[in-house]
């Protein structure tokens, strides 16, 4: 009998694993491998979510394990949705979210576009730019607290130097309406490099021959940017917006370190408020409902956004 290539391939292919393990099919072995992951997913993600939904309809307080737990129906949700403070905190979160994304996308994309042009020291500049995102939020928070200090901080000194306004006459983190912008600046400083890196990946994925063809067609640099660079980098840009949006919706540490949510409630993001409700006030039922409201909000917005992202990718 002739030894065909198909025969040789068949001999070289290992016997199905199941044949070597008595009584187990391939499907069973697949389940053995997948089961721990599924179990982990169910126990760490799905079960807590279901449990949180259940708690959100009760008056449970985690610091009173012996107290009677009462079913309160939709009261927690009603309180949250009719509470002016909750809406104010959501607005603060939206302010933070929108402005950080705008600044980070504009600056991040610009930096990526500049760095994508080959020049000497390109790698060094890229490394220097990404340093802020490598730092811990605790370090960044303390670092910027000093920078914003009215008497010794560099920021107030720079403002005095540039405008003549006395350095100790205003406080970026204190009253006066600057605190919200102060945290937007810090977050932008810290996370713009992240957006830049994603955009850079997008820009470097555009084949050179497209630009060469555009050059042959005598397209201007401006036209090349609008018709080639931006459309082809857009999915990456939108991905960066998605990542930053989700991250900033749950921003916590940086703001706690910089302002503690103050002055008053001026920088009290929904995530900080939720933590206070859950682990300082110990209103577990209420905070569970709060968490569900936030989850639905971010899940809803992200779903709409991902649909838009997919449409852009399909073009």
């Amino acid at each position: 009998m002739t030894d065909t290539p198909a025969d040789r391939l068949a001999r070289a292919t290992p016997q199905p694993v199941a044949k070597r393990i008595r009584g187990l099919s391939d499907r069973a072995i697949a389940w053995i491998f997948v089961a721990p992951t599924i179990f982990l997913l169910l126990s760490v993600n799905i079960f807590p979510l279901i449990w949180t939904i259940r708690l959100s309809f009760t008056n449970f307080a985690a610091n009173k394990p012996n107290a009677e737990v009462k079913w309160v129906g939709l009261r927690n949700y009603e309180r949250i949705l009719t509470d002016a403070d909750t809406w104010a905190n959501m607005q603060t979160t939206a302010h933070f979210l929108i402005w950080t994304i705008i600044f980070q996308v504009l600056i991040g994309f610009t930096l990526a576009w500049l760095i994508n042009r080959k020049f000497k020291g390109n790698d060094l500049v890229t490394t220097l730019i990404v340093i802020p995102m490598m730092l811990s939020p605790a370090v960044v928070g303390n670092f910027w607290t000093f920078l914003y200090q009215p008497q010794i901080g560099l920021v107030n000194y720079a403002v005095e130097f540039l405008t003549g306004i006395p350095a100790d006459s205003f406080s970026m983190l204190g009253p006066g309406g600057w605190a919200r912008w102060a945290i937007v600046i810090v977050d932008t400083w810290m996370w713009t490099p992240f957006v830049m890196l994603i955009c850079l990946a997008g820009l470097r994925s555009i084949p050179d021959y497209i630009y060469e063809a555009a050059e042959v067609d005598r397209a201007s640099k401006w036209r090349q940017f609008w018709t080639i660079t931006l459309p082809m980098a857009l999915p990456f840009l939108m991905l960066a917006v998605l990542f930053r949006g989700i991250e900033n919706f749950r921003m916590f540490d940086l703001v706690v370190l910089l302002t503690g949510g103050g002055p008053g409630d001026e920088t009290l993001l929904a995530s900080i408020d939720l933590k206070r409700e859950a682990f300082e006030k110990w209103r577990t039922g209420y905070s569970s409902a709060y968490a569900i409201v936030l989850f639905v909000t971010v899940f809803g917005l992200a779903s709409i956004y991902v649909k838009a992202l997919n449409k852009v990718k399909e073009r």
Binding site: N63, K64, N66, Y148, S171, L173, V256, P263, G264, D265
Partner: protein
């Protein structure tokens, strides 16, 4: 059960004591070496910085963790700790060992040990007496040119302020003044938003202006007491003091920032808990007679109260070494141990120590500490204290620092928040 028996049970065991990470905790580590030597029990310590202390330790207690055998928890926790079964009730133990609460400063017994308040149910042994008071730059006050300038401006001698009005005058006088070539400011006061800072500061003033938590004859009736005319004026005073006389950028300051501001010579007056005072005496910049200590000044009606700080030491109900933990408490309650505690910087609550004729002269701040402990009031020690505290943090910071609304609106809002909490608790 005698101490000897307990020692036998506790042989070869360890005890973990949980507290905040601060100077007194370091003093307790030193002090506890005597306990280790006499009992053979090894002491371990778990100290958490103040801003995270309540979060970390209340989570530990609430989750039934076994980290701590002994807990020096904040005074406000007592209600929750008692009702939730976190602490061991110590009455029987005290009775057996002959420890009487009459031996301790009454305010500390009420503040740190009793729940319900003013009943003989004890959940801790008073461990560290603390109270909000003031320090001032005595060396600056004594300078002739400063005294002259003050007298020219206010027509009276520059003396340590006895009333809040005088305190504000002094703070205004020093605000922006140049001393030794450096611009200094009037006062450091509590403004912290996140944990309990601004509440401790504001309350320290409000009490002396007539604020009461509720109707003494009808518990939890707050209308007319929390937002009384006096309370409104007190809150307005605190805001005025913040607006006129603090250093720039101090919109989120508590104990640590106050210590830094004072030690660095930035402010003439400083509001802070008494635990900071030994550190000032030891500091080269403000120690050695440069600092004076003040009991909280009087309000407009002459009433004088101060915000209670400090803690009691409790046995955690979940401990695996109950005998060892009780042995530590018995050891700690002894007169000679308490004497040593005071000498190391711990503020003893034992009357035999603080009423000793030599006590008042033992440290420059000893008399002020004694006088302050006689006028203390404490925040709600209810099981829901944390919810009540967060409400006051928000209302006070919003008005005093952010400048939103009026004092009356802030206090009316506080009643609304507190009422909702007590309704949820079933107390209203």
């Amino acid at each position: 059960m005698g101490l000897g028996t307990m020692m036998a049970h506790a042989d070869d065991k360890e005890l973990t004591l949980c507290w905040a990470a601060w100077d007194p905790a370091n003093a307790l580590v030193e002090l506890s070496k005597d306990f280790e030597a006499s009992s053979g029990i090894k002491m371990k310590f778990e100290f958490v910085p103040w801003p995270n202390f309540a979060d970390r330790m209340l989570n530990e207690l609430n989750s039934g963790g076994k980290l701590c055998d002994l807990m020096i928890g904040d005074s406000q926790w007592i209600g929750g700790a008692a009702e939730n079964g976190w602490y061991v009730k110590l009455n029987d133990f005290f009775d057996k060992e002959g420890i009487t609460m009459d031996a301790f400063v009454p305010a500390t017994v009420t503040g740190y040990s009793e729940w319900p308040k003013n009943t003989p149910n004890y959940w801790s042994l008073p461990a560290f007496g603390d109270v909000v008071g003031w320090t001032y730059r005595k060396d600056w006050f004594e300078r002739p040119e400063i005294q002259t300038a003050f007298k020219e401006k206010y027509g009276r001698d520059l003396t340590p302020p006895a009333t809040f009005d005088e305190l504000k005058q002094v703070a205004e006088f020093f605000q922006g003044r140049e001393i030794d070539g450096k611009t200094v400011y009037g006062a450091s006061i509590y403004t912290e938003r996140g944990s309990e800072g601004i509440t401790m500061g504001v309350m320290d003033v409000l009490y002396s202006y007539g604020f009461k938590y509720d109707n003494p004859d009808k518990p939890y009736e707050m209308e007319g007491f929390v937002n009384s005319e006096g309370a409104v004026k007190g809150l307005e005073f605190y805001k005025a003091l913040y607006d006129c006389c603090v250093a720039p950028g101090t919109s989120n300051t508590y104990m640590g920032e106050g210590i830094d501001a004072y030690k660095s010579g930035q402010v003439a007056l400083q509001m802070n808990f008494a635990f900071t005072w030994p550190g000032f005496e030891a500091d080269p910049n403000v120690g050695g007679g440069k600092t004076g200590y003040l009991v909280n000044p009087a309000g407009p009606g002459g009433e004088k109260f101060a915000q209670l700080g400090g803690q009691g030491i409790s046995v955690v109900a979940n401990t695996d070494n109950m005998d060892g933990a009780l042995a530590y408490i018995k050891w700690f309650a002894q007169k000679d141990v308490q004497d040593k505690w005071w000498s190391k910087g711990g503020f003893s609550c034992l009357r035999a120590v603080v009423e000793d004729p030599n006590f008042a002269k033992s440290q420059p701040y000893a008399q002020t500490f004694l006088d302050s402990m006689a006028i203390v009031k404490d925040f709600w020690a209810e099981p829901s204290y944390a919810t009540l505290l967060q409400a006051s943090q928000k209302r006070f910071h919003d008005y005093v620092v952010a400048g939103n609304g009026t004092a009356k609106e802030a206090l009316d809002g506080l009643i609304s928040d507190w009422t909702e909490t007590f309704e949820d608790e079933g107390k209203l």
